[in-house]
């Protein structure tokens, strides 16, 4: 078989100068490749290290907790010491109730505050609120619990789910407010103007165009905030307190997964220890699921401009 070789242009002889130049280029190129490879390796190492704890925790919880997971775990009440079996149904329901309460407090206030911060960017009040909300975000969660205890437990005389929900909701406010502010901030001014030019009033523009356009991002932020407060224990110690019995009353102490995990983990009984592992596993799975949903919601994030 013969292959026709295409006509080639005669090879150009590089001048001495060109040759020196190209040798130098090759040398530095080699060095740059090595440095680049090293840096990449370091960065990949850091990235892997960053997620390693989560992988270990998840693996550990799986090996220790999965054996106690059963249908009973989700449907049965805790059993007294000595009896085998039993579950954490009350704690799971309690956590869901607390999340609902916290969202009822944290979402409207947080979204409203965030919208205000974005719409009145330079205002003095806005700057003050933004700063304080950052401080609030960094506030130790136990302090939030003490605060809720002072105002919602002490005057009433007993612990309650409501106090726990408010404490968690107050923690959500700054997180939701800042995400809302960011998401509203990236809605293009041109969209706002388009609505105003149609005769929309300011508040209507904010609500039905700006907030709606930012909603996917705000939902994501809200879910991330929920995922964070779902596992909080400290603010619940003086508020929701925990409950060994079935209770869905907002005025009564209520059980929560983190509280239950805490009290089982410090107990001296092996059976309770394994329930604590399982509880921790369920809690982390819950957060994992919420984060996944949040990620999915982000996927549907709006795109502007578009076009051909």
């Amino acid at each position: 078989m013969t292959t026709a070789t295409p006509p080639m242009s005669p090879p150009l002889r590089p001048t001495l100068r060109q040759r020196a130049f190209s040798e130098r280029t090759v040398r530095t190129l080699k060095r740059r490749r090595i440095v680049s490879g090293l840096m990449l390796a370091v960065l990949i190492g850091a990235a892997v290290l960053a997620v390693l704890p989560l992988i270990f925790i998840f693996g550990h919880l799986l090996t220790l907790g999965v054996s106690s997971l059963s249908w009973d775990f989700f449907t049965k009440m805790p059993k007294p010491v000595g009896e085998t079996g039993g579950g954490l149904a009350n704690a799971i329901v309690g956590t869901l109730i607390l999340i609902g309460l916290a969202s009822a407090v944290g979402l409207p206030v947080g979204v409203g505050a965030g919208l205000y911060l974005a719409e009145r960017k330079g205002a003095k009040l806005a700057n003050g609120v933004r700063f304080l909300s950052d401080v609030l975000n960094g506030l130790p969660s136990i302090v939030m619990g003490i605060f809720a205890w002072q105002f919602l437990v002490r005057p009433v005389g007993h612990f309650s789910a409501l106090a726990g929900g408010v404490a968690l909701g107050a923690m959500m406010i700054p997180m939701v407010a800042r995400t809302t502010e960011e998401m509203v901030g990236i809605v293009p001014v041109s969209l706002r103007e388009a609505a105003l030019a149609l005769g929309y009033s300011r508040w209507r523009t904010s609500l039905s165009v700006v907030l709606r356009t930012a909603s996917a991002g705000i939902v994501t932020g809200a879910l991330v905030a929920i995922a964070r407060i779902a596992g909080e224990t400290a603010p619940l110690l003086f508020t929701a307190f925990g409950n060994q019995f079935w209770s869905t009353s907002l005025k009564q102490p209520i059980s929560a997964l983190p509280l239950q995990v805490f009290s089982y983990a410090i107990s001296p009984y092996d059976a309770w220890h394994s329930l604590a592992w399982a509880g921790a596993l369920v809690l982390i799975a819950l957060i994992f699921i919420i984060s996944l949903v949040a990620r999915f919601a982000t996927r549907a994030r709006f795109a502007t401009g578009g076009g051909d």
Binding site: G122, P188, S190, L191, E193, A194, A195, L196, A197, L198, G199, Y200, S201, R204, S208, V209, R212, T213, S215, F302, A303, T304, G305, G306, G307, D308
Partner: protein, 277 residues
């Protein structure tokens, strides 16, 4: 340069047949209008009459205040922080800057289309067109009526045939040119008396530009249009009268055919012959 001039004149010759319609009562009257951004004086003492059922083009180099002027006509200028307007703008004899006149109400009568297409990304094509209807006071349309209005607006914007089978899909899926025509349809749905176009073809390809220009040409039969454009050929193609702005001042305004053939001001002549800008 000489050829450019003659091209322009070719375009202009097409326009002369509209010259007969030029004597119409003014729809809008602008009196000693000044507009500011903080301490920047963007529009300086402009007087203008905008004739009914005609296309008025505003041309001028970048930063000459033509967009700012346009945004004063529907009180959009004041939505920018630190922006300020002085002087008067009359729509059908009523000063829209008079005390007690609501800017939001003004904007319902004077529609606007911007340089970049601005469809609402969370809304379907249908809802985008109907968006302005929802804020008309005291009016409620049934679904069927809304559908009719949407169809009419899209038909007038020459978009109906392209989108009629996907009215409930997102407006983001349309091409740039289609998005711009959608925005025009959205402005038309509420039947404004005046339509302001702020460089509506600046971000479009030539084919879409032609579609929008033809549309503007058609629309002038039943509404008053003011179009800001960078493109002098465009002004010559679509407009009945043309105003030339420079450094915030209205240098010259007259019939389009006159301004491109026999400009009175040297600066106008310099600009339209391409000596600057």
């Amino acid at each position: 340069m000489a050829t450019e001039r003659s091209n322009l004149q070719d375009d202009v010759s097409l326009m002369t047949r509209h010259a007969a319609t030029i004597e119409a009562p003014p729809r809008m009257r602008v009196g000693s209008l000044d507009a500011y951004f903080g301490s920047v004086h963007a529009v300086k003492g402009v007087d203008m009459q905008i004739r009914d059922r005609q296309v008025t083009a505003i041309i001028g180099p970048s930063g000459c205040g033509k967009s700012t002027f346009l945004r004063c006509l529907n009180r959009m200028h004041e939505t920018v922080p630190t922006a300020r307007v002085e002087g008067e703008v009359e729509l059908d004899g009523r000063d829209i800057y008079a005390r007690g006149v609501n800017a939001i109400a003004v904007r319902k009568h004077i529609g606007m289309v911007f340089q970049r297409p601005t469809p609402f990304p969370t809304m379907s094509i249908r809802d985008n067109v109907a968006a302005g209807l929802r804020v008309i006071d005291g009016a409620k349309w049934s679904r069927a009526e809304t559908d009719q209005i949407v169809e009419r607006a899209l038909t007038r914007a020459v978009l109906w045939n392209e989108v009629k089978d996907r009215l409930s899909t997102s407006a983001i899926g349309l091409s740039g040119g289609q998005q711009q025509r959608l925005c025009i349809a959205r402005a038309l749905a509420t039947e404004p008396t005046v339509l302001l176009l702020d460089e509506p073809t600046a971000s479009l390809d030539p084919i879409s530009t032609q579609a929008v220009e033809e549309l503007v040409y058609e629309l002038r039969s039943d509404m008053t249009i003011v179009i800001v454009t960078h493109n002098m050929q465009q002004a010559a193609r679509v407009s009945d009268s043309t105003a030339f702005f420079l450094n915030g001042e209205l240098v010259e305004m007259s019939d389009t055919s006159a301004i491109f053939t026999t400009p009175r001001d040297d600066r106008t002549e310099a600009y339209i012959t391409g000596r600057f800008g």
